[in-house]
C-alpha cells in the first residue's frame, strides 16, 4: 500500500517547526508504524536528507520510548504503543498526520522526539518504597492479599510513555502519577510512606508544566496499558487522606 505522510519537522526546541509531506510506497500490512518510518528514513538518508528523528527502543510495547500523535490520536488509532501499531489498520492511499506529543511539560527536542524527564522527576519525589539493599525482611513475612497484589500489578503496568499527558487537553500527568501512587499505596510494604508519597509526587507534578485534571478521561482512552481512569479518583482520595492527616 501507499501513504502520504505529513510529518512534523522541527530542528530543535527553539525552531518553530512545521509539516513536511512525504510519500511512502510498498508498505506491507505486517509492518509496524515505526518500520514504515524506517523505510522512509532509509530513503531520506540515501538522498542526503536528514531522517525523521523519533524515540524508539524495544519495539515490543514495553519500554515506553516511542510515541507520536497519529491523525490526532496519541499512539494512533489502536489502543497500543506506536511500535505495536501495524499498517494493516490504515487505508491504502490515505494521508496520515504525524506529530510529536504536544504538552507544555514535554518540550520538543527534535522532530517527533520530546523531553519527558518531568515524569522521572515525579517518580523521584516519592514514587518508590524506601528499602535500602540488604535491609529486606523475608519475602513471606508479610502476605499480600491476591486482590491487592493483582490491582497493584495492573497499575504498575504503566510504561511511562506519556500518552496520557499528550492526549489530555490540559496536558495533565494525573493518570501517570495516579498509577504509581495506587500501585505502591495498595501494598503493605508501601504503607509507611503512603502520605509522604502522594504529597511529594503531587507536589512535583504541580511544579512541572503539567496542567490540571478536569476529568475528561482522554488519558485512560489513550493509555496503551489500560491504566483505568478510576486511578485518578483513588489518587484524589489518597491525596486528601495524606494532606488532612
Amino acid at each position: 500500500m501507499n501513504l502520504t505522510l505529513r510529518i512534523w519537522r522541527q530542528a530543535g526546541p527553539d525552531d518553530p517547526g512545521g509539516f513536511s509531506t512525504y510519500r511512502v510506497g510498498d508498505i506491507s500490512p505486517d509492518m509496524s508504524f515505526l518500520e514504515m518510518l524506517d523505510t522512509l528514513n532509509e530513503t531520506l538518508a540515501l538522498r542526503g536528507e536528514e531522517p525523521v528523528a523519533f524515540d524508539h527502543d524495544c519495539r515490543e510495547g514495553i519500554c515506553g520510548a516511542c510515541g507520536m500523535v497519529i491523525d490526532g490520536q496519541a499512539h494512533g488509532p489502536q489502543p497500543t504503543t506506536t511500535c505495536q501499531l501495524h499498517m494493516r489498520h490504515f487505508e491504502d492511499g490515505a494521508t496520515v498526520d504525524v506529530e510529536p506529543w504536544r504538552a507544555a511539560a514535554f518540550p520538543v527536542v527534535k522532530d517527533l522526539v520530546v523531553d519527558r524527564s518531568a515524569l522521572d522527576r515525579v517518580i523521584g519525589a516519592g514514587g518508590y518504597i524506601t528499602a535500602p539493599t540488604g535491609s529486606a525482611p523475608e519475602a513471606h513475612a508479610t502476605p499480600v492479599p491476591k486482590e491487592a497484589a493483582d490491582a497493584a500489578f495492573e497499575h504498575a503496568a504503566c510504561i511511562g510513555c506519556g500518552a496520557c499527558v499528550a492526549a489530555c487537553p490540559n496536558g495533565s500527568a494525573m493518570l501517570f502519577t495516579a498509577a504509581k501512587v495506587v500501585h505502591l499505596n495498595l501494598l503493605p510494604q508501601g504503607a509507611p510512606e503512603r502520605s509522604s508519597r502522594v504529597r511529594g509526587m503531587v507536589g512535583a507534578m504541580d511544579a512541572e508544566d503539567f496542567g490540571g485534571c478536569t476529568n475528561t478521561g482522554e488519558c485512560a482512552t489513550a493509555c496503551p496499558k489500560g491504566i483505568p481512569l478510576s486511578a485518578i479518583s483513588a489518587l484524589n482520595r489518597e491525596f486528601l487522606r495524606g494532606t488532612l492527616r
Binding site: P51, P143, F153, A157
Partner: protein, 648 residues
C-alpha cells in the same frame, strides 16, 4: 588465510580470585576478607556506572545508598527504559516455597549443567545463594509478583528444570523488577546521591597508569563529546545480540561500551556463546526491524508440534492428531516441552530443515494451547498468558486462543561478554562488568529466568563489596582532567565521529548492519561449521572496509543525529563479529548454544570435548583485524561432575 586466524596462545589465566575452601563458604569468606571503606570516606570516591538495566540501576542505587558519589549514564531518555524491561517470564530463586526439593545446591547444579559445564563453579554457587535475597529485596520494594489466594508468592516452572522456582509478575517480570530498581535509583537521583546523565552514550574508556579512570561520552542531544573521570568504572551495558541485526534485543542495544573497553585492554570471554531463544514470532518480511520473544513460560502449557509429513500445507486445525509430531515430547519424554533453550531451538531448526516447518517460508513450528484451554479453561490460560496472547495477536493478526501460535528461534542473549574475575573485575583494574555485559555465570547456555537473577545479584549484592575492596586498596589521587591521556581518548572519539560524518558514501548504516546480520545468522548462528566460519571470517573484514568507504551519515555531529549513533554502533559490531567467529572456529567442540556440526553425538546432540575445551576463552585485543591472543581459564569441576547433558 587472513592473519586474523593465526591467533596466538598467551599465558593462561593465573588467578580468578575465587576464594578457596568449601564452595558453600566461599562467598562468606570473600565478604569477610574484602576490605571496607569507612562510610565517612565513601563520598570522596566517584564511581561511574554505565547503563541502567537491572544490573546498572541496582548497582547505582546501592552504591549511592552506601554513600559513594555515583555518576550514571544511559542512552535512553529515561533510565526506566533499559532493555531489561522487556524480560517476560520470571526470575529464579532457590526459596523452595513449594517444598518440591529445591535448594541452593540444586539451583547451582541446574545452572552449571544447563550451561553445559562451561561456567565457573564458584560464581554460579554464589549466584544461587544470593537468589533468595533478591526476592526479599524486590518484595520490599513493592514489586507486584504473582501471588496465591493465601497471599503468598506464586512460582512456575521454566526450561531445563524440574522444580517450580520461577517467580513472576504475569508476562512482565523484567518490567516490574526494573521499575523496582529504577525507583530505588530515582530516590538516589532526587537525593543527590546519583548524578544521572540520560541520552548520553559512552563511546570510550579512559585508562591511565593501567587503571580505568573514566569514560568519554557523547550527549546525544547536543552532540557534545565530554570526559567524565572517576575512581572506578562499572559497565552494565548489556549483551551484544544485536551483532546479528535481527534479535530480541532493543533496537538501540549495542556493544560499543564493552568493545571499546576490550580495545583498551579488557579481555573478552567466550564471545561465541550466544543464545538462540526457541519461542519468538517468525519474521514476516524484509522490513523486519527486530524479533519479538514469546516468553518461555508459554512452554509450561503450550505443546510444540509440526506436521509429520514434509510439505503438509493444511491449516493446523485440519491436521488430525495422528498426523502431528509433538517432537519435543517424543524426543525428550522427561522434560518434554521444557527442555533447555539451546535444545529446543536446534530441534525446531531440525524439523524445519526437514521441510516440516509451518507458515510463510516454512520457518516456524506450532505452539498450541488447545489442550491447555480444554483442561484449564480459557480464563485460567488468559490469567497466565493474557498479555502475551494479545501481543501475539497484535503482531500477527492471528488469535492464539483459536489458532496455534507460530514460533521460530531468534537471537536473544549473549552468555559471552567481558571476562571478569570472581569480583566481577575485568583485566583492566578498576573496570567492572556486571549483568549480561560480563561472561560469568551461564557458561555456554543460560537457563530461562536466570538473566534477571544474575543482573540483580551482580548489582545489588556482588558488586558493592567488590568495589569497596578495590577502592580501599587504591591510593585515591584525583586525576587532572587535562592529563594528556585523557584528552587523547576524547580526541580519538571526536575524530572517529568526524570520519563517519565525512565519508558521505552511498550506503546507510542500516544496510551494513543488515548484511552483517545475515552473515552472522547464516554462518555463526544456530549451527556452525568450519567452512562457514571461515567464509564469515573472510567476508567480515571486507564488509568493514566497505563500511568505512561507503557509509553515509546525513546531518552533523552537533545535534541529535540517530544515523550517526547507529553508524558508530555498527562500526563496532563489524569488529566484534570477527572475534565471535574466530572464537566459534577455534572451539571445535559443541557445547550449549555453541553447536559445531562436526561435533555431535549419534542422536545429533551437542558433543562436548572436555579434554580439549574445559576452559573459558579470554581474548586479548591486539589491533583491528589483527590476530588476538587467547588466554585460557581452566575450569575445574569439583562439585558438579561433567556428564553428557541428558533431558530425555
Amino acid at each position: 588465510m587472513t592473519p586474523y586466524l593465526d591467533y596466538t596462545v598467551g599465558a593462561p589465566v593465573a588467578d580468578t580470585r575465587a576464594p578457596a575452601g568449601p564452595i558453600e563458604q566461599r562467598w562468606d569468606r570473600r565478604r569477610f576478607e574484602a576490605k571496607l571503606v569507612n562510610p565517612a570516606n565513601r563520598r570522596r570516591h566517584t564511581v561511574i556506572v554505565v547503563g541502567t538495566g537491572l544490573a546498572g540501576a541496582s548497582a547505582g542505587a546501592t552504591l549511592a545508598e552506601q554513600g559513594y558519589r555515583v555518576v550514571q549514564f544511559c542512552f535512553q531518555d529515561s533510565p526506566r527504559r533499559a532493555h531489561s524491561i522487556a524480560a517476560q517470564g520470571g526470575i529464579n530463586a532457590a526459596k523452595n516455597y513449594r517444598n518440591d526439593g529445591d535448594s541452593v545446591r540444586r539451583l547451582f547444579y541446574d545452572t552449571v549443567k544447563g550451561g553445559d559445564f562451561r561456567a565457573r563453579e564458584s560464581n554460579v554457587h554464589r549466584l544461587a545463594q544470593i537468589s533468595v535475597e533478591i526476592i526479599d529485596q524486590c518484595v520490599a520494594q513493592g514489586v507486584p509478583f504473582a501471588r496465591e489466594y493465601g497471599g503468598l508468592l506464586d512460582t512456575r516452572s521454566f526450561g531445563g528444570v524440574q522444580v517450580q522456582r520461577t517467580f513472576y509478575a504475569r508476562g512482565q517480570t523484567g518490567q516490574q523488577l526494573l521499575l523496582g530498581a529504577y525507583q530505588a535509583l530515582s530516590r538516589q537521583i532526587a537525593g543527590g546521591g546519583v548524578e544521572m546523565h540520560p541520552r548520553t552514550e559512552m563511546l570510550d574508556l579512559v585508562v591511565v597508569d593501567g587503571r580505568a579512570r573514566g569514560i568519554v561520552a557523547r550527549d546525544l542531544v547536543t552532540g557534545e563529546v565530554s570526559t567524565h573521570l572517576a575512581d572506578a568504572v562499572v559497565l552494565a551495558t548489556g549483551g551484544y545480540g544485536n551483532v546479528f541485526h535481527l534479535s530480541t534485543n532493543a533496537k538501540n542495544s549495542n556493544a560499543t561500551a564493552v568493545w571499546r573497553a576490550h580495545r583498551r585492554g579488557a579481555w573478552f570471554g567466550n564471545p561465541c556463546f550466544t543464545q538462540i531463544h526457541p519461542t519468538c514470532i517468525p519474521r514476516s518480511g524484509d522490513h523486519q526491524s527486530k524479533l519479538t520473544l514469546m516468553s518461555e513460560s508459554l512452554r509450561n502449557d503450550g505443546r510444540i508440534w509440526v506436521p509429520k509429513a514434509a510439505g503438509d500445507t493444511r491449516p493446523p486445525g485440519e491436521i488430525p492428531e495422528a498426523e502431528r509430531d509433538y517432537y519435543l515430547e517424543r524426543m525428550y519424554p522427561s522434560f518434554g516441552n521444557l527442555v533447555p533453550r539451546d535444545i529446543a531451538s536446534r530441534a525446531a531448526k531440525a524439523v524445519c530443515d526437514e521441510g516440516r516447518g509451518v507458515g510463510p517460508g516454512g520457518q516456524g513450528v506450532y505452539l498450541d494451547f488447545a489442550d491447555a484451554i480444554a483442561r484449564l479453561g480459557r480464563d485460567t490460560v488468559s490469567a497466565r498468558y493474557g498479555n502475551l496472547f494479545e501481543m501475539y495477536e497484535r503482531i500477527t493478526a492471528e488469535d492464539p486462543y483459536r489458532v496455534p501460535m507460530r514460533i521460530y528461534p531468534a537471537v536473544h542473549y549473549t552468555m559471552g561478554g567481558l571476562w571478569v574475575d570472581y569480583d566481577l573485575q575485568t583485566t583492566v583494574p578498576g573496570l567492572f562488568a556486571i549483568g549480561e555485559a560480563n561472561f560469568s555465570d551461564h557458561g555456554a547456555n543460560r537457563l530461562g529466568a536466570s538473566a534477571l537473577m544474575q543482573g540483580l545479584a551482580d548489582g545489588y549484592f556482588v558488586l558493592p563489596p567488590a568495589l569497596n575492596d578495590y577502592l580501599a586498596r587504591q591510593e585515591s589521587e584525583p586525576l587532572d582532567p587535562g592529563h594528556p591521556q585523557v584528552e587523547a581518548v576524547r580526541q580519538e572519539v571526536v575524530e572517529r565521529l568526524d570520519r563517519l560524518l565525512s565519508v558521505r558514501g552511498d550506503r546507510t548504516p542500516e544496510s551494513f548492519h543488515r548484511e552483517l546480520g545475515r552473515i552472522m545468522w547464516d554462518e555463526c548462528g544456530m549451527a556452525r561449521n568450519d567452512a562457514g566460519l571461515r567464509r564469515a571470517l573472510a567476508r567480515i573484514p571486507e564488509l568493514r572496509q566497505e563500511f568505512w568507504r561507503r557509509v553515509t551519515v546525513p546531518g552533523t555531529g552537533e545535534s541529535l543525529n540517530q544515523q550517526l549513533e547507529k553508524a558508530n554502533r555498527v562500526a563496532d559490531h563489524l569488529e566484534l563479529a570477527e572475534l565471535m567467529c574466530l572464537d566459534a572456529l577455534h572451539r571445535t567442540e559443541s557445547c550449549g548454544g555453541h553447536f559445531r556440526e562436526e561435533s555431535r553425538t549419534e542422536q545429533g546432540e551437542a558433543l562436548r570435548d572436555d579434554e580439549a575445551f574445559s576452559y573459558a576463552a579470554a581474548w586479548e585485543f591486539t589491533g583491528t583485524g589483527r590476530a588476538p591472543v587467547l588466554h585460557r581459564e581452566q575450569l575445574d569441576f569439583e562439585y558438579v561432575h561433567p556428564t553428557q547433558r541428558s533431558y530425555a
